[in-house]
Symmetry: C2
DNA sequence: CTCATTATTTATCATTTGATTATTAAATAT
DNA sequence: ATATTTAATAATCAAATGATAAATAATGAG
């Protein structure tokens, strides 16, 4: 049979990609494409479709990963590792800078580092499937972001420290609300595919301003109620 | 959204359910269970699993629906029809009541009517799969809720009407932020399965209060910038 | 060049899954 | 009771899908 030239994998215009890659590079290539593929189609995406996207045959995947599940595990690690910047925890509570500046800077950096196409979609896919990663992550957000934010709000509004009067559920809910307004923008963009023309950094500045200039009296009321309840 | 816990897979059928049902009742039964089933597992849920949940054999589904797709179509109609209350459009703009009351009432009623386990999960599943329903729905929210809200905010803060100075993207983004903080609570509950002990109505009241007491100056600034840009 | 190594492909297996057909049995009519 | 109708099941098909085994061909060593 004649050896007809193999049809090129759909989109590799720059380098004609030699047929045989060194194993490390091939594995990296597979993982990189798998990240995008599973972010787009979810973890029930078919291995044959993934292989076609990569430009290899489906069985080759199994030379690099013993099972689809192990590949997914690898993809998880690739996406969810090292996105959190530990410096953020100090940033939020470093009172040398004004609170509005701290919150704006944190949420700008956080949104830029975390809320991209891959992270958001995988996070939501995982949530729907009930993977534990979401629960753990949001518990971290609660302790490392929302509670500290509530504490800083207390300080800015001349209210008792969380040590004196514990942070109540409704108080925390205020911080969840701010957080959610930012996450929701990512959802609109990456899940609902709505084109958001508004600049994200500017929107963050505006929403933080609205929040900070309005939260004082409401928080005071909640803290007083909480205090009364305790005593 | 308030007190609708995750529906349990039917475990203890009260009535031993006679084997042979009348066709209308059987169809209704299938649809009702399919709604819960697809909300939980997504539309790639297997027909055999669905049948097992219903307590029938898988081929029986095909006596009532010609294909899985047609059943899904039916489920969509069941979930997405008649949840929007047309009276809400008037509620938001009826200036006989104070704006805080209107916003609180609207979002309480809206959250209760729309944000339940089934609606939220199907909406997100559909978004991930790129079904057009989301785009259309959110376009409706924008025109029927967010723009009117912006208009009422203009009025409450003594700013020019949207007719005089069109509503800008960043201004609209403020309203998206408020909206998102409520939707995000539903996401936390139904997608991430976090137990939210805080009462939903109270949280809405608090967040509306924070928003309304802080939004004035920010909106004024945005409107003035928008006005300058136009002239 | 010749040959060994191994990255990659072709062919294929065993389940799964949406869907169809043939059979069974429950309800109703006579 | 007997017969008729049809809701429901059992058996099965064909395509899809995760995974494996055998065959092929690109690369480097001697």
């Amino acid at each position: 049979m004649l050896d007809s030239p193999k049809p090129q994998a759909k989109s590799a215009p720059e380098r004609p990609q030699k047929k045989r890659m060194n194993p490390d590079a091939r594995e990296a290539h597979i993982v990189a494409e798998a990240v995008l593929f599973f972010a787009e189609h979810g973890f029930e995406g078919k291995t044959r479709d993934l292989a076609k996207r990569i430009g290899i045959t489906q069985p080759l995947l199994y030379r690099y990963f013993p099972s689809k599940e192990s590949l997914i595990e690898r993809v998880y690690q690739e996406v969810y590792v090292q996105r959190w910047n530990p410096a953020w925890e100090d940033l939020i509570t470093d009172r040398r800078a004004p609170l509005p500046d701290r919150l704006c800077r944190f949420y700008k950096e956080y949104s830029r580092a975390v809320y991209d196409y891959v992270w958001v979609r995988m996070f939501v896919y995982s949530g729907l499937k009930g993977v534990d990663i979401n629960d753990r992550y949001l518990r971290g957000i609660k302790e490392k972001v929302l509670r500290p934010v509530c504490g800083e709000l207390r300080h800015a509004n001349g209210l008792p420290t969380p040590g004196a009067v514990p942070i109540g559920e409704q108080e925390l809910e205020l911080a969840w609300g701010l957080h959610g307004s930012f996450f929701y923008r990512a959802i609109r963009r990456y899940i609902y595919n709505l084109t958001t023309t508004a600049d994200s950094d500017t929107a963050i500045e505006n929403e933080v301003r609205v929040f900070l200039s309005g939260v004082g009296p409401v928080q005071r009321q909640l803290v007083e109620a909480q205090d009364k309840q305790d005593s």
